[in-house]
Amino acid sequence: MISAARSWPRGRVGARWLLGAGMIACLVMLPIIALLLQAIQGSAGLWSHLVSTILPTALVDTAILLGGVGLITAILGTSTAWLVTAYAFPGRRVLEWALLLPLAVPTYIIAYAYLDILHPIGSVQGAIRWLLGYSSSREFRLPDVRSMTGCILLLGFVLYPYVYIPTRAMFLTQSANLIDASRTLGISRRAVFWHVALPLARPAVAVGVSLALMETLNDIGASEFLGVRTLTVSIYTTWITRTDLPGASQIALSLLMVVVALVAFEKWARGKQRYSTGAQRSRAFEPRRVSPAKGLALFFAGLLPILIGFGAPAIYLVNEAWKRIEFAGLSPRFLSETFNTIVLASAATIITVLFGLLIAYASRLRPGAMTVWLQRLSTLGYAAPGTVVAIGVLIVLATVDGFIDRTAIAWLGVSTGLLFIGSGAALLYAYTVRFLAISAGGIDAGLARIPVSFDHASRVLGQSAAGTFRHVHLPLSKAAITAAGLLVFVDCVKELPATLLLRPLNVETFATHLYGEAARGTYEEASIAALAIVVIGILPVILLSRMGQARQ
């Protein structure tokens, strides 16, 4: 409480920025607080009803899904990271970045694609039957992809890059000295992985897995298409089909508790990670050369997750989209979707980047416990699943809309209707809450690279705090701001659950269109929308792979 004790004037600079950051933090907190209040208000009878009907299945399914996806992503992410770090073989450089590609495929799109690819009377199963000499799908068929196992596998193959990225970074920064030391202590090359590299990389794996699991909790499309009734799906159906807001918020609350546990796990793992990388930073890891035959085998091993997680669905989507365009061209409906998607995502990106700048710059002007907390609070939404944020926003804006409507009727005699919810403002609000962490974090990291002496130099040379921001910080952190904006934009385009719940009536985006068709089981223009999302989703992959190269 040093700042409270300081009773006389110091620079008023930063006060306005601080106020702005405080307001943003409140805005972000509001939906979560509203959710808590709503959940508490729900009657006890309702709660016992939930406990006896929906919750048990939902909890068990969610737990199994999380466990399975955690296991698959940990295995795939760690083994691919070790593959491209420890061995030198032709094509390794390509694999290094290509292993990131499945990030471009949202979970609902991989489920959508594989439902058709692996359809019992589709070409893949047909080819397998032909190879094995069966003639009909009644004699032989692969296990149905519409199952818990199918869901776990598909999510695993698109989410493993979350583990691959931090684990590979860990393998690279671990000094080769440790590996060399263990070799001189009598551990074989093969055993090094189990005895040295893996234990050291464990925190990184844990961070990656917790991020992948947060994505899993956020998923609504894949689980629903594949018939897995998770908590997220339950929230959605409770609200959409039964219009039961207290019920939805109570389920959302239980989902939030799972998230809190995950975040705690991630924080703990990050703490460990810092501890083990801080120690040394000398030589980079020297990959081992292998024979051509073994090299080829390793290359194909590394290619497999890329093919399953990106290649096959991408080829399928290109093929289907091509067929559709040849057959019917692009419908006006698709064009209006494109427009909606881009306008919504751009608006949300602009708001999110502006808020991110405000928060990051406020912490720079007024470093201290106050801004640290404001930053923490305003980035709370990053872990909250889209459905939870959407329900919270819904509660807040429904209240505000109702109040405005009643006031307008009382004073002006006109009904305003649902001002915010009907206009798409609700959706922008939800996007901002959910993705503010990405922009604030990215911009903060960009600003952190600018020495504080630059700020002081600029102030002493006659610039105000705002002028310093414009003439020094902005030009020097352009790249970081652009990158943050790009990430937010792409995430908004891909976002499904909140968009589904909060979009204005009759407004379709790529994601909701795809969801609609997949849920109905029709396969019309959805492939074009899905392809558009994947193509946009490749942008951050390029960015990530560039960052990886710059680090080397």
Binding site: I2, R6, W8, P9, R10, G11, R12, V13, P451, S453, F454, D455, H456, A457, S458, R459, V460, L461, G462, Q463, S464, G467, H471, V472, P475, L476
Partner: protein, 351 residues
């Protein structure tokens, strides 16, 4: 109307600042006259850089006041933003903006002036500092010495009342450092600029400043001319900061300090039988192959060129005496005679 020299002073009035539980500055008071060159010196963490940042207005005072030209700029009643203080600052890392050329960096501080005037002033400074050939370059294309000069030009361009410099020469190689320092200081003296410079190098402090301010743990230990601080230090800390003394313990009796190597006459405001430490300068001991006041045994000699550093063991002393002498002893000398020159020793009570 020309302002009086007195109007253009900087006053620090019982300034304090703490970060959490640690006091970075504790009740610091100092007055600086126009045109003076002041060196703030001390070990890292003594608060000297914090003091500089407070004068510039990029850090705040917790208590006390800072007055510029008689006007309060930091204190209970007023805080003037750094951009309104007319103060120049040369940073330790120079803080040249990497996205701007040398010329644009210098123009940066002149944005409040009319375009033509700013351009003329920039050309002026560039010519005066002699960096015309660097004008269009970006900071990363400059050597350390060049960056230092650009930083100086940028700070001087808006014609500040006071120029602050935070370890401005510490990023330069040793040979270059002295050359750049001499050039910079003669330039600043020529301009009559008031300068406050921070350094941790005792030699730099003694040679560069009209006045030296020695700081320790957020307090001023001693302020005065370089001669004052070196020859007449007020405490053992000040003494040892500027010179690597020989320390010999003794006791104060009858106006003398009695030690194993003799009695040293000095009137001190100390009680009888007070434990004292005698500080003898290494260059204040004369050595000859023949007999002297004391007799010692030559233990080691390190030849440094201009001077030779000797270690001499003397009966009754645990540690050998260190001597720096320009007088060359014949090779093979073993026993030497020593005399301690007057005014080459100090005495402080043991704390």
């Amino acid at each position: 109307m020309t302002p009086h020299a007195q109007d253009r002073t900087l006053e620090l009035d019982n300034v304090s600042r703490s970060f959490g539980a640690t006091a970075a500055l504790n009740d610091v008071s100092l007055t600086i006259a126009s045109g003076e060159i002041i060196c703030l010196v001390g070990q890292s963490g003594c608060g000297k850089s914090t003091l500089l940042r407070m004068i510039a207005g990029v850090d705040f005072v917790d208590a006390g006041r800072i007055l510029l030209n008689g006007q309060e700029v930091s204190g209970p009643s007023r805080f003037v933003e750094p951009e309104d203080r007319k103060i120049g600052f040369v940073f330790q890392d120079y803080a040249l903006f990497p996205h701007l050329t040398v010329e644009q960096n210098i123009l940066f501080g002149l944005k409040r002036r009319a375009k033509q005037e700013a351009a003329a002033r920039t050309a002026d400074v560039i010519a005066h500092i002699g960096i015309a050939h660097l004008k269009g370059r970006y900071p990363h294309m400059l050597s350390g010495g060049e960056q230092q000069r650009v930083a100086l030009a940028r700070a001087l361009a808006p014609q500040p009342d006071i120029l602050l410099m935070d370890e401005p020469f510490s990023n330069l190689d040793r040979g270059l450092r002295e050359k750049v320092r001499d050039e910079t200081l003669s330039l600043l003296k020529g301009l009559g600029t008031t300068v406050i410079m921070v350094t941790h190098d005792p030699e730099e402090a003694l040679s560069a400043g009209d006045r030296v301010v020695l700081m320790k743990a957020g307090r001023i230990v001693q302020a005065g001319s370089g001669y004052d601080l070196h020859d007449r230090p007020v405490s053992s800390y000040a003494a040892e900061f500027f010179c690597a003394f020989n320390r010999i313990s003794g006791v104060y009796r009858n106006g003398h300090i009695e030690t194993a190597i003799g009695r040293f006459a000095k009137m001190l405001d100390a009680g009888e039988e007070t434990s004292m430490t005698l500080y003898i300068r290494p260059q204040g001991i004369s050595v000859s192959p023949g007999p002297g006041d004391l007799s010692g045994h030559l233990k080691s000699r390190i030849f440094l060129g201009e001077v030779e550093q000797l270690a001499i063991t003397v009966d009754g002393l645990e540690q050998p005496l260190h001597v720096r002498t320009m007088h060359r002893l014949p090779q093979g000398t073993e026993t030497v005679g020593l005399s301690i020159l007057p005014d080459s020793w100090l005495a402080f009570p043991v704390v």
